[in-house]
C-alpha cells in the first residue's frame, strides 16, 4: 500500500536560505507521527510548505498526498484535497466572525469535493456540537476570528476548524504550546477523537506531555532541515532526559 503522505528528498529555500535539506517522511493512513526538534530546525517551515505558503520554494524533491503531487497546487486546493494545518500562530481577522469564516470554509471545501453545501441551520447545529466538545462557547463563534482570543482559545479554535473540515491528513504545529493543563487535555481529546483508519496526522511538539495523551505511532527528530532519527514513542521520552545534543552534532558535522 502506498503512503497517504510521502515526502521525498525535500529541499526548501526561503529567499536565499535553504532550510529543509533533503527531508524524507512517509505517513500511512491511520498513523500518527510526531516530529520533535530544536528551535529553528525547520518544523514550521515543513508545515508551511505542506500547506502551500508563498515564499517557500521547493528546489528539489516532492510532496505527494495520495500519490498526487502538491508542489504546484495552491493552498485552497490542498485543503480540498484533504490537507489541514493547525497553525503555530493562528491569524487574527478583524471584521469576519468565526461563524462566517467556518461556514465559508466548510462550504468551499465541500463544493471543491463535489459535496452539497450545508444550509445555515444544519451548519449551526453541526458547529455547535463540535465547539461544545472543545469547550468553546457560542460567544466565541460570534466574535471576529481569533481577535482578542487567548492563546489557548486560538489553539482550540484551530482544532475546531480541523474537526469541521474533516481532513485526511492533519498537521498540528505546536498546538500544545500556550495551553494550560485542562486545555491541553481538551485539545488532545479533540485530536484523539479524530483519529481513525483513514486519517493521518503529523504532530509537531516540543513536549512529551501532549504525546502522553495523543500516543504517536512513530516519533521523528528533525534537526538542521533533515529527519535525523526515527523511532518508537520511547524516543520522545529519551529526548526529555538528554535533549538534542546528540542529534545536532550529526548535522553540523
Amino acid at each position: 500500500m502506498s503512503a497517504l503522505l510521502e515526502i521525498k528528498n525535500l529541499h526548501v529555500s526561503v529567499g536565499e536560505t535553504e532550510i529543509l535539506k533533503g527531508l524524507n517522511l512517509s505517513i500511512s493512513a491511520g498513523e500518527v507521527h510526531a516530529i520533535m526538534g530544536p528551535n529553528g530546525s525547520g518544523k514550521s517551515t515543513l508545515s508551511y510548505v505542506l500547506a502551500g505558503r508563498d515564499g517557500y520554494e521547493i528546489t528539489q524533491g516532492d510532496i505527494l498526498l495520495n500519490g498526487v503531487s502538491l508542489a504546484e497546487m495552491n493552498p485552497e486546493d490542498r485543503a480540498i484535497a484533504g490537507l489541514f494545518l493547525a497553525f503555530q500562530y493562528p491569524l487574527e481577522i478583524p471584521g469576519v466572525t468565526n461563524m462566517t469564516f467556518l461556514k465559508t470554509s466548510v462550504n468551499a471545501v465541500r463544493r471543491g469535493r463535489g459535496e452539497d453545501e450545508m444550509d445555515a441551520a444544519s451548519f449551526l447545529r453541526f458547529v455547535r456540537d463540535k465547539a461544545k466538545a472543545l469547550r468553546l462557547d457560542d460567544d466565541m463563534l460570534k466574535r471576529p476570528l481569533n481577535v482578542g482570543f487567548s492563546g489557548g482559545e486560538k489553539k482550540r479554535n484551530e482544532i475546531l476548524q480541523m474537526s469541521v473540515l474533516e481532513p485526511t491528513m492533519a498537521i498540528l504545529d505546536e498546538t500544545d504550546s500556550g495551553l494550560d493543563i485542562d486545555a491541553l487535555k481538551t485539545v488532545a481529546e479533540g485530536v484523539s477523537a479524530m483519529r481513525d483508519a483513514q486519517r493521518g496526522m503529523l504532530v509537531i511538539t516540543h513536549y512529551q506531555r501532549l504525546l502522553d495523551y495523543i500516543k504517536p505511532d512513530i516519533v521523528h527528530i528533525l534537526a538542521g532541515g533533515q529527519i535525523v532519527k526515527t523511532g518508537s514513542p520511547e524516543l520522545a521520552l529519551e529526548l526529555e532526559k538528554s535533549g538534542y545534543a546528540d542529534y545536532i552534532g550529526e548535522v553540523v558535522a
Binding site: A51, R53, D54, L85, I93, G95, A108, V109
Partner: protein
C-alpha cells in the same frame, strides 16, 4: 401675498448674489485651501442648463435605493421632487420658499463654494420638520437620468426636542448632483443618517451636510460609497450645548479612476460634547482617496472627547490616498486623538483563509469586507438596521466580486 413677494425678492437677490459669485469664482477649486485635493474646475461644464422635468419612461430605482420596504420614499429626479409618499405623523414637508429666514440662515457664508454654487443653480428646496419619534425610516433618493442632467437641491431638516428619525439618503445615476442638507437638532433629538452613494462612474457628486446640535442631541452618520466618478462627502457639525454627540462612520470603496473625498469639520463650541469619526477607505486601480478631518475645540469647551481615525486599504500600487488631519484645540481639559494608517492586504491572513479551502478571490473579498465591517455594524441601531446591513453587505460583495 405680500410676504411671498417680499420673500421672492429676498430669494432672488440672494440667488443673484450667488450667481455673481459663481460667475467670478466658478466651481470649487484649488484656490480654496479646503479644495486642495479636489479641484472641480476641469470636471464640470462652465454651467448647467436646468432642464424641465420630463420623465418619459419609468426609472427603475429598486436596486439603487437602500431597499427598505416600509421606508417612506421621497424621490428627486434631476433635482425635482417627483414623488412623495404619504408621510407618517410627526413628519411634515414644506417648500423652502415659504421660509425666508431659513435661506438666510443657511447661506451664511457666500464665500463657501458649496453654498454659492448650490444657491446659484438651486432647483428645489424643501424643509422637513420632525416633531415626534418616527419609527419608519424616511428615504430620500436622488437620481439623475443622463450625463447632461444636474440636481441642485437644498433640504433643511428640523428635529424638535425629543424627536427621532432614521434618514436614508441615496444617490444614483449620471451627471452632477449637488445637495446641501442643513440639519438643526433641538435638545434630546436623535438623527440616524445613512448616506449611500452609488452613482455611475461619470457622476460628480458634492454632498454637504451641516449639522447643528443642541443639548443631548445625537447625530449618527454612516456613509457608504460604492461609486465611480467624483465624490465629495462633506460633513460639518457644530456642538452648541453639553451632552451633544456626533458619530461619523464612512466606508468608501473606489476603483477605476474614481476620486473620492471625505471631509469632516467638527466644531466643539460647548463643553462636555463628544465626537467619534472613523473612515475606512479601500482603493483599487488608479483611484484617489482623500480624508480631511478637522476638529476644533473652542477655548471654553472643556471635557470634550473627540477621536478621529482614518484607515486605508490599498489594493493597487497605482491608487493614492491623501490624509489631512487638523486638530485645533484651544481648551486644556480635553481628550482628542487622531490616528491614521495606510496598509495593504495582509498576506498571512490571506494564506490562512486559503489554507482553509477559501479561494483567493473569496478570501480577498472576505478580508476587505472585514475591513469595513465595523462601519456597517454601526447600522445596528438604525430603524430596519438588519435589513440595511444585509443589503449593503450584498452590494459590497457584488461590487468587490465585479472588480476582483
Amino acid at each position: 401675498m405680500e410676504a411671498m413677494s417680499s420673500f421672492n425678492s429676498l430669494f432672488n437677490s440672494m440667488q443673484q448674489e450667488a450667481k455673481d459669485i459663481f460667475a467670478a469664482q466658478g466651481w470649487p477649486n484649488k484656490r480654496n485651501e479646503d479644495w486642495h485635493y479636489t479641484d472641480l474646475s476641469a470636471r464640470l461644464p462652465a454651467s448647467f442648463q436646468n432642464q424641465p422635468l420630463e420623465l418619459s419612461e419609468d426609472v427603475p430605482l429598486e436596486n439603487l435605493t437602500c431597499g427598505v420596504d416600509d421606508a417612506t420614499q421621497l424621490t428627486f429626479i434631476n433635482g425635482l421632487l417627483s414623488d412623495v409618499e404619504d408621510l407618517p405623523e410627526g413628519l411634515t414637508i414644506d417648500a423652502l420658499i415659504a421660509h425666508p429666514e431659513l435661506v438666510k440662515q443657511s447661506d451664511d457664508d457666500m464665500t463657501d463654494p458649496l453654498l454659492y454654487s448650490n444657491l446659484a443653480h438651486l432647483e428645489t428646496g424643501i424643509v422637513i420638520d420632525v416633531t415626534g419619534v418616527i419609527d419608519r425610516p424616511l428615504e430620500i433618493h436622488f437620481h439623475n437620468t443622463a450625463a447632461e442632467e444636474a440636481s441642485f437641491v437644498r433640504i433643511i431638516f428640523r428635529l424638535a426636542a425629543g424627536a427621532s428619525l432614521t434618514l436614508l439618503e441615496s444617490h444614483s445615476g449620471w451627471g452632477h448632483t449637488q445637495l446641501v442638507s442643513d440639519i438643526y437638532q433641538a435638545e434630546d433629538s436623535m438623527l440616524r443618517h445613512l448616506r449611500l452613494h452609488q452613482a455611475e462612474d461619470t457622476q460628480v457628486s458634492l454632498l454637504l451636510n451641516r449639522v447643528s446640535l443642541d443639548a443631548q442631541a445625537h447625530y449618527h452618520n454612516v456613509a457608504v460609497s460604492l461609486s465611480g466618478g467624483l465624490g465629495r462627502l462633506e460633513t460639518r457639525v457644530t456642538f452648541n450645548a453639553p451632552g451633544s454627540h456626533a458619530g461619523l462612520a464612512t466606508a468608501l470603496l473606489s476603483g477605476g479612476k474614481q476620486h473620492i473625498d471625505v471631509t469632516t469639520r467638527l466644531n466643539h463650541l460647548s463643553p462636555d460634547t463628544t465626537s467619534d469619526t472613523v473612515a475606512r477607505t479601500i482603493l483599487d486601480d488608479e483611484a484617489c482617496g482623500i480624508f480631511q478631518g478637522k476638529v476644533i475645540v473652542h477655548e471654553d469647551a472643556q471635557r470634550v472627547e473627540a477621536t478621529q481615525k482614518s484607515d486605508a486599504l490599498m489594493l493597487s500600487t497605482e491608487a493614492m490616498m491623501n490624509v489631512k488631519p487638523e486638530l485645533e484645540i484651544y481648551a486644556d481639559d480635553v481628550a482628542c486623538a487622531h490616528g491614521s494608517a495606510i496598509g495593504e492586504i495582509d498576506h498571512e491572513a490571506l494564506f490562512f483563509l486559503r489554507s482553509r479551502g477559501i479561494g483567493e478571490t473569496a478570501a480577498r473579498v472576505m478580508l476587505v469586507e472585514g475591513f469595513i465591517a465595523e462601519i456597517l455594524g454601526r447600522l445596528d441601531d438604525f430603524a430596519a438596521g438588519a435589513t440595511l446591513q444585509e443589503n449593503l453587505s450584498k452590494r459590497v460583495e457584488t461590487y468587490l466580486k465585479k472588480s476582483a
